[in-house]
Assembly symmetry: C2
Homo-oligomer: 378 residues x 2
């Protein structure tokens, strides 16, 4: 029954790619968006609700799960799929990004990063090998190498140093992963190099030399303008092997996704649909809609009468406004659901468009819809 992690490209249009990859827990159609299940849950949503949005894969956070409830505990309970009742593929990050953004008292050495938990001050050490071990304990279908992620802007020497450390960690991650010999599971390398294209190209080349089942572009969506991000994506994807999936980490808005697919990206993850949903914001074909705005208080229209998801078709804007104003949990639950469903519909739209050779049209029509700002007045 052993089977390799496979990625198949079925169609391309310009740099945009239509494909699918296969993992031990099933296949995922690409381009794909992965909802973020930070601490073993996509915040507020049952796995059934996540599945009904169209999501085929979720992301789990190594940092959060390592602190609580601990990877050894999750493993003893049958792994993350069983623990959170999500039978489909799971990708876990390496923990590196959250160590940098959430923990305190970090000490970074060649060997590992040592940090204090933001929850209770406990000291933890995370090395490339421990990160792979944790992701194996969680049972991730796709693991990520440990890397060092900087905030932009940063000095070139600093970016180069972090990129080179990340490359050495990539090699150690790969060796640790190979030692597992688990069929069908995948490890992705992460291209670093900030906004310096020479460093990005060097990073990509060296990672390809090591060899991974897929390649991520990391160190973006960390404060840089969208134009910088897209330029890095556009100039990095050609340096990556066509036969492997490409994952743009932590991105982004629906517009980011549209433009990144146009530049050759196959996979995304982002907390925006859930986090912004909890703050009263809806993503839609008509752009973003702030439900806390009083103009929605008497509006009987649903967010999108033609949405493929019933929640977007059923609840009135007035009701969603009421839930948001009253700080009702259901407001965040419904808007998170509606937003993930919109992200999934956007990805499905891009997939169909690439398949049909009309991605350029889809791109233009989608932008026009967002520019419109809302449903046209009757």
């Amino acid at each position: 029954m052993s089977e390799a992690f496979t990625f198949t490209l079925s169609k391309t249009e310009g740099m945009a790619r239509r494909g699918a990859f296969t993992t031990p827990h099933g296949s995922v159609q690409t381009p794909a968006f992965m909802p973020v299940g930070t601490a073993g849950t996509v915040k507020g949503l049952t796995p059934e609700v996540v599945r009904e949005t169209g999501a085929e894969i979720v992301l789990g956070n190594t940092y959060h799960l390592m602190l609580r409830p601990s990877p050894e505990r999750v493993a003893a309970l049958g792994g993350l799929h069983t623990f959170m009742n999500w039978p489909l593929p799971i990708l876990t990050d390496s923990g590196g990004f959250q160590v940098m953004s959430l923990s305190s008292l970090r000490k970074l050495t060649e060997k590992a990063v040592t940090f204090r938990s933001h929850l209770d001050g406990t000291m933890f050490e995370l090395s490339p090998e421990r990160s792979i071990e944790i992701q194996a304990l969680l049972g991730a279908d796709i693991s990520m190498q440990l890397d060092e992620c900087l905030k932009l802007p940063a000095a070139r020497e600093e970016i180069a140093r972090a990129m080179e450390l990340s490359l050495r960690w990539a090699e150690r991650s790969r060796r640790a992963f190979e030692a597992r010999k688990a069929d069908g599971y995948a490890l992705f390398g992460i291209v670093q190099g900030g906004d310096d294209m020479a460093l990005r190209h060097e990073s990509a080349r060296e990672l390809v030399n090591i060899g991974f089942e897929g390649y991520a572009i990391g160190g973006l969506a960390v404060g840089e303008p969208q134009a910088v991000m897209l330029k890095v994506v556009e100039e990095t994807t050609p340096a990556l092997p066509a036969a492997r999936p490409r994952y743009l980490m932590g991105v982004g808005t629906p517009h980011d996704l549209l433009e990144a697919v146009a530049r050759g990206i196959d996979m995304f993850d982002c907390v925006m649909p859930t986090r912004n949903g909890r703050h009263g914001m809806a993503f839609s074909r008509f752009g973003t809609i702030n439900l806390s705005n009083a103009r929605h208080a008497d509006d009987p229209r649903p967010l999108d009468a033609e949405s493929p998801h019933p929640a977007a078709r059923t609840y009135s804007r007035a009701y969603l406004h009421h839930l948001v104003k009253a700080n009702e949990i259901l407001g965040g639950v419904l808007l998170s659901t509606i937003n993930i469903a919109y992200y999934q519909a956007l990805m499905a739209g891009m997939r169909s468009a690439i398949e049909a050779g009309r991605f350029a049209d889809f791109h233009a029509a989608t932008l026009a819809g967002w520019r419109q700002g809302d449903i046209p007045a009757l």
Copy 2:
């Protein structure tokens, strides 16, 4: 197509009653438990999830909806059923209880109660007539008369004064309700009188003289011991007409429900399954289980492998513990679902038992299960 509100008793055992009532939005099997949809939402749960617990009717709070989003707005949006996407029966309370417990600067006169909103300080007036008007604007299948609800213990003269005012308000409520002439809709009177049985009997007698589609017992679950509550119930139900449903307001624990059904009650509402669920507590056949307790951290067992609800059968106690400790929204969502489902299963169990003439056995077996404290060790 006009149809009266009807209540049919199909079986009794001792004082316990098996029946059903019919409203413009469908029938409800009794004894029934109504989840509380305070501000137009059963906290954290979609209507589909509430329906899947087995609930056939929910309660809406006049006080909360009157403050926000306002009954006129709900009416303009199609009524509460449409607003919250709950197509089945809705009972609304009169607002009186929350005015007493939540608002400030109350002034109670013969005419009405004037109070300051706990949200923004706006002054509101609630009279028996306005309460009926609000409940009509919401479109409640069952409305409740406005009453004055005291905390126990209270002096006899104070209890008598409030009971007599409530009777005068019952009469005004009935007149206001009759003026609507809406077929199939129901108004319930509320028996008051604290723990003084002479006052309770007087209240019941006078309410029956006015005539209502159903009768509630109010002013309980306000701090008195369970024995006091059950004694009042036991001595009040015989004073109410057998052919009308009897509703014990704001009650209670599963044990309260079991004992109150044994004393002739047909309907209940309570925030406990949702509120306690949000605080990490599960109700089950084995009694209450505090999921925040560390003893659950490594427990792979579900809460109840034989529950009729999948959430109670699927998620491990370890996972629920993790969600509660991590303060994840999904913890409250799942435990609210599981708790309402347990309440519904308990009601369904009582209904079947009364039907089969084995309520006494069911009562004993249920108590034994709770006493057990948890699933027996293997």
